[in-house]
Assembly symmetry: C2
Homo-oligomer: 388 residues x 2
């Protein structure tokens, strides 16, 4: 186990009707709020009204900025920064999923940065200050509700880049699983893949002696795997929705990666997909992660065998650990399929003509991944495995 | 799953040599520190010198109060309160295990309470203010390094009572597994039982639909179970010590109990043992927990069967879940024995003559436990099961 520092200060407020407490929590941090959200769904399903009522009850002023898209754009972030400056906003409330939260985080740091906010996402600039922010979560997937990360897309060149800072960790995250009942199945499933990917990016590590966090990862994966089909079968299955939602936060709050090197190659390889083709991040991961696994598993076949046995209940063949490992990969892919996710680029209608460009872009700042460091040729091979 | 609020703000600084950073972390909160510790072991093994050097390097003044005993006494707490008032201490640094940390927490709240600090432990008084505190952990067991709880013993009547408040959660916990190499085997094992008990107090619940936290509990137990024998066989086995130490914190940082009713009967039943006979808390739990299990398992035999199968790898007999459940209890007891713990009151040299008095005291404020609510008669029966 490696040395580590771990702290996650976000207050999680979890359960039925909790979105009605948002005014109370917000009032601890701000008086004038930017209410940031995506498309029309929070209005259509009543979440918007509940949030606004709660803010008004708590005597909190607010201005609004909707329109966040998946793979959130830096253009809207720039608009948000102007708005919070002009309106003297002192707190940002993100109502939505990871895209809305990441956009809110970008506005929060852009508020106190003199140059263009995209500089922060491009370079190694230190984040010095940020507006405080809170979350009402409506999509369990990204884990952004308690993470220190934000991923933003710049349409000018189709770049998708991230920042990390404790300054952008939300003060609170209000999580009512009922708000996820109305998610389309595709989005529920894509979210589930994203959650699983956050766990697996940490699980596949070169750090020895990480039993405890291995066990936490395996247990988290099992809980997601068993509950997603229930939520898909019955959209308003509260217990299943609750398990998925709570697991989504823990998958990405830092705990599961404590003391171990993390990988993140699959996320970076996928970012080029959703950057260019604007596919759902989770759907892209469902395609890329199994391809990555096939490409790298021989680097540590014992770890992949452990994954197969402990997560997928594969009956191990100790005389053929390669087979055991591959069974785990096969079951992962099979599971993604079973919940309605694509597992090939073909299924995503992504043609082969820009794979080399994507591999080039993905590795333009050097190799990706830690489990195995991958260069452009490796990444291209993974895209090719993912094709069909 | 029940609604819940979860937040744990303690910064964990984990790994080799981290105790040498204590001055730096302390300097963020205070200029004059009460250095609080137990007996001679931190001086004997060099931890004291490293801590004091680090404080001095950071320009931090300190006064000292050693002498904390296991089952920490309110008398020493009172002395500490006088000292921090007189010396204008603005931060408490606990160097030790749960007893030292709990004693530090008591001093922290007593500093701002006008009456006698024991009032706070006896009643339902709200904790309004506390000195900030930090920890250098030397014994993985109590989980007090990031918990909101403190347990103190009053020799006047041999009462052991607790408080809970976010105000006493440590600001940071420095955790170097190397500092645990010198623990006597008995203390390592007793600590392990305490860790397991913290998990099991949460695991045995009446709340339905808690798959995710069940899985986290089971994985945590498995990690502890497999690593304790390694640490006992080879005292300086860093990986094993590290797994146990990190699991000890997560076992009691609140996460594993999110969304579920917790039990805590075994802890309360044990408190009367260590209150009167001054036995190690973990050793007392090794005796009480299996007896409690035997007494209550029929209340939810399926949950006990799940525990047996998932934690102890019992091959389930679905035609006889009682047998399956009992196998899990048997294996728990067998494991405690295998790591050198007592599992009967006889082995602890506790005679039968005061069992009724203990049962009376244990239930004087009403029934104990949630999984099954236990009255005096129940508790007495559990003590009798525990006798031999």
């Amino acid at each position: 186990m490696d040395n580590f520092v771990f702290q996650n200060t976000t207050k999680i407020v979890f359960g039925k009707n909790t979105e009605q407490e948002v005014g109370e929590y917000t009032s601890k941090y701000g008086k004038k709020v930017l209410l940031h959200y995506g498309g029309g769904s929070i209005k259509k399903y009543g979440t918007y009204d509940k949030v606004v009522n709660s803010l008004e009850k708590a005597g909190i002023e607010y201005v609004e900025l909707g329109g966040v898209k998946s793979n959130p754009r830096v253009d809207l972030v720039r608009e948000g920064i102007k708005l919070v400056e002009k309106e003297n906003v002192d707190f940002i409330l993100a109502v939505g999923g990871g895209s809305v939260i990441d956009s809110a985080k970008a506005i929060a740091v852009g508020r106190y940065y003199d140059g263009d906010v995209w500089d922060l996402y491009q370079g190694q600039l230190k984040i010095k200050q940020a507006l405080p922010l809170g979350v009402v979560l409506t999509i369990p997937a990204a884990g952004s509700e308690s993470s220190d990360a934000s991923v933003i897309t710049n349409m000018d060149g189709m770049y998708k880049r991230s920042i990390h800072s404790d300054k952008i960790r939300p003060k609170f995250a209000i999580m009512n699983p009922e708000l996820t009942y109305t998610l389309p199945d595709y989005q529920t499933a894509a979210g589930a893949v994203d959650i699983m990917a956050h766990i697996m990016e940490r699980y596949f590590t070169n750090t020895p002696d990480v039993d405890f966090t291995d066990r936490l990862c395996e247990g988290s994966l099992k809980a997601v795997i068993s509950n997603v089909p229930k939520a898909l079968k019955e959209n308003d299955n509260y217990p299943a929705r609750a398990e998925i939602m709570w697991a989504s936060t823990i998958a990405h709050n830092g705990l599961l990666g404590t003391g171990r090197e993390e990988d993140w190659a699959s996320h970076q390889i996928e970012h080029e997909l959703s950057g260019i083709y604007d596919v759902a991040h989770g759907a892209g991961l469902a395609v890329i992660f199994p391809a990555w696994m096939e490409y790298v598993y021989k680097h540590d076949v014992e770890r992949f065998a452990q994954f197969a046995v402990r997560v997928w209940d594969v009956d191990p063949d100790f005389s053929d650990l390669n087979w055991t490992a591959k069974e785990g990969i096969r079951k992962t892919k099979e599971y993604f399929h079973s919940i309605g996710m694509p597992t090939t680029l073909n299924e995503l209608d992504i043609p082969g003509d820009r794979l080399e460009e994507m591999a080039e872009k993905c590795t333009e700042n050097g190799s990706v991944g830690s489990f195995l460091k991958l260069n452009k040729t490796d990444v291209l091979k993974i895209y090719r495995i993912a094709q069909e």
